[in-house]
Each structure stands twice: as structure tokens, then as C-alpha cells.
């Protein structure tokens, strides 16, 4: 989890099934990002968990962090990218279908927090590197196989 203000940008590289969730405030030009690896903290099998990697606890933690910096949750907007399905192993493990599940869980959490998703680039079968600029509020996405785009 990371929070930035200009001139800094926020970036995460090599997203596969993970989802990069950017929450930002247009007034203070503040943006934060969590890197969601798993859809729900109930999947954790350890006593002490890293809240940032689950959709539910990670998004909550980011909202709180931004609130602590004086940004009301009502002002936040979201852009999300990631959640690819890179492999199709015929395996009993649900974890292999994790990309779409991460995306669904992120959307559910954002809806519950009443944060609108202004744009998204999710799913597919390519890895992504994403970069968010808190001045322009644009999310730049680079993939190996499908080129670049800005949303």
C-alpha cells in the first residue's frame, strides 16, 4: 500500500492475477494504491495477516489511510486494472481462477464503500504494468502482448 502526491506517481509492475486498485481525490491530488493478491481475508491461513494483499482488508486499509490524511471517503474515485487469467490449468484448485475473483471482490468492496469506478482495464490474459499520475488522474497501462493505453 502506497499513497502519493505530485510530483510523484504511483506504479506497480508485473501484475498478473493481482489487481491494482487506485483511489484518488481530485481536490487534494492525492492518490493511493493497493495491490490485491487474493479476494478475501478469510482465505488467510495464518494468524497475523498482511491486510494489504486481500481485497476486503486492503481497500478498507487504504480508505482509512486516506481518511487519516484528511480525505473524506465520499470524495474518492477509483480506477482499477489487472485480474488477468494467465493460465488455464485443469486443476481442482480455485486459486488458478483467481484473476476474475479478485476483480469481482474489488468491485464489491468499492460498491460497499460507495466509491465510483471511473475506468478499468481488467481480465484478459496479459500481465500489466500500471502507473497513475495524481496530476492528470490518468492510469497508464503497459502490456507485453497488447500494447499500451491510458484510461
Amino acid at each position: 500500500m502506497n499513497v502519493v502526491k505530485p510530483p510523484n506517481v504511483i506504479r506497480t509492475s508485473g501484475l498478473g492475477s493481482c489487481v491494482g486498485v487506485v483511489l484518488y481525490d481530485e481536490i487534494s491530488h492525492t492518490a493511493g494504491m493497493v495491490h490485491v493478491m487474493l479476494p478475501d481475508s478469510c482465505l488467510a491461513k495464518a494468524d497475523i495477516i498482511n491486510r494489504a494483499k486481500f481485497a476486503d482488508t486492503g481497500i478498507q486499509a487504504l480508505i482509512h489511510e486516506l481518511e487519516r490524511r484528511g480525505i473524506r471517503p465520499g470524495r474518492l474515485k477509483a480506477k482499477i486494472a489487472g485480474g488477468a487469467q494467465m493460465f488455464h490449468f485443469k486443476s481442482g484448485s480455485d486459486l488458478m481462477k483467481i484473476g476474475p475473483r479478485n476483480v469481482a471482490a474489488v468491485k464489491e468492496q468499492l460498491q460497499m464503500a460507495h466509491i465510483p469506478i471511473l475506468s478499468e482495464d481488467t481480465g484478459g490474459n496479459s500481465g500489466r504494468t500500471i502507473e497513475f499520475d495524481p496530476i492528470t488522474f490518468l492510469l497508464h497501462i503497459r502490456t507485453v502482448n497488447k500494447g499500451e493505453q491510458t484510461i
Binding site: S17, L38, K53
Partner: protein, 213 residues
């Protein structure tokens, strides 16, 4: 206490030997297939945080060609055989005697992709069967899948199961290199083996090393 905290130096040595035996067999297969000299480095077995794992082999954004498979049976895990795109290109160019092949153009030479997948299949098959013989565990590989993408995006699949337990992983990294007549390294391939957390006790039991469950 996380399973990682129970790992002792002797366990890491066992994992290193496991990687050694597996990759040793894979190197022999590769050498037979290409009729060339293949060298193997001593496996690197380490406990690393995820963030550091993502930076191995040149960063999470580095474009790689990977053949990966799931291991199921008495012990579970994920295995990846990875080359950079440039190395994979050279590898297939030699194999097919076609200098124009590249993994950057997916549709031009489907046969090269197929050859890579088969190569990965043979290599990981020899790795796993050696592992199975050594441990006497029944291990079944899934059909391998080829991916041309960013290192982080691919390798994170190997970490999913582990991420339910911890933010650290035990990585068994073995490097195979092909050397040409002048002994210059031309192709370097990484084997990454990630075992599921609940496979460690099974593996250590099978090899007669105590492990505090």
C-alpha cells in the same frame, strides 16, 4: 507460527539436494535433445519475501518465456522453466535451425511455440520424475502451459497458495546454461520450484528429516 519459521538449515540443504537431482536430470535430457554441453549451477535455495522474489532474474516487468505446470499428488506445488525472450528465441532458433524465429510474433511461427512447450514438458518431466524417484512420492504434473509475459505476472501464480500463509516463499532456483564451443554462455534457463506449504512436512518425512509440525 508460520511454516517458514520451522525451516532449519538442514531443511534448506535437503531442498537444495532436491533441486540438484531434479535439475541434473533435466540438464541431461536437454543435453541429449540438443546434442550440446549443458551446465548446471548449484541450486539456490532461499527464503525470500514476495517483493524480492518478483525482482529475481531482472525485475517483475522483464519479459520472459515460461513453461509452467502444477504438481499434484502426495506433494503439491508449482514449477516454472523460464528464459528471457532473447534467450528463448536463440534456443528455438537453434532447435529449428531457423534464425528468423521470435517469440515476439505470436502468430508467425506457431511451431516454435509448440517446440518450446514440448521442451518445457520434457525438462520439467525429467525434473519431476527424478524428484519422485528420490523421494518415493507420487507426483503428477499437469499439462504444461506456455506464457510469454512479464516475470511478475507469471511467477505470482506460483505464490498464490503460499500467500494464504505468509508473505515469504521458499524458492528453489536452478540455472541451466548452454555453452558453445568458445565456452561462452549462450542460453540460460531458470527452474523455479515452489512447494505448497503443506508439502514441506511430506517431503521432509519422505527424506527422513524431522520437522516440527
Amino acid at each position: 507460527m508460520s511454516y517458514i519459521d520451522k525451516i532449519q538449515p538442514i531443511h534448506l540443504d535437503i531442498l537444495k539436494e532436491t533441486g540438484n537431482i531434479g535439475a541434473g536430470h533435466a540438464a541431461t535430457s536437454l543435453s541429449t535433445l540438443l546434442n550440446r554441453k549443458i551446465d548446471m549451477k548449484v541450486p539456490n535455495v532461499r527464503i525470500v519475501p514476495f517483493a524480492e522474489m518478483m525482482e529475481l532474474t531482472g525485475g517483475s516487468e522483464k519479459e520472459m518465456v515460461s513453461v509452467s505446470l502444477r504438481i499434484e499428488g502426495e506433494a503439491g506445488g508449482n514449477m516454472f522453466f523460464m528464459l528471457t525472450i532473447e534467450e528463448a528465441d536463440r534456443f528455438i532458433q537453434k532447435l529449428m535451425a531457423d534464425e528468423s524465429f521470435t517469440f515476439r510474433e505470436q502468430d508467425t511461427y506457431p511451431i516454435g511455440f509448440s517446440a518450446m512447450q514440448e521442451m518445457g514438458n520434457i525438462l520439467s518431466g525429467s525434473y519431476l520424475s527424478a524428484l519422485g524417484d528420490f523421494t518415493r512420492l507420487k507426483l503428477q504434473p499437469s499439462v504444461p502451459e506456455l506464457a510469454v509475459d512479464m516475470f511478475g505476472a507469471i511467477i505470482s501464480y506460483g505464490l498464490l497458495e503460499i500467500s494464504q500463509y505468509s508473505d515469504y516463499t521458499i524458492v528453489i532456483d536452478t540455472i541451466l546454461t548452454e555453452t558453445d564451443e568458445e565456452n561462452a554462455e549462450t542460453v540460460k534457463g531458470h527452474f523455479f520450484l515452489f512447494l505448497s506449504p503443506d508439502s514441506f512436512p511430506v517431503l521432509f518425512d519422505a527424506l527422513g528429516a524431522g520437522y516440527d509440525k
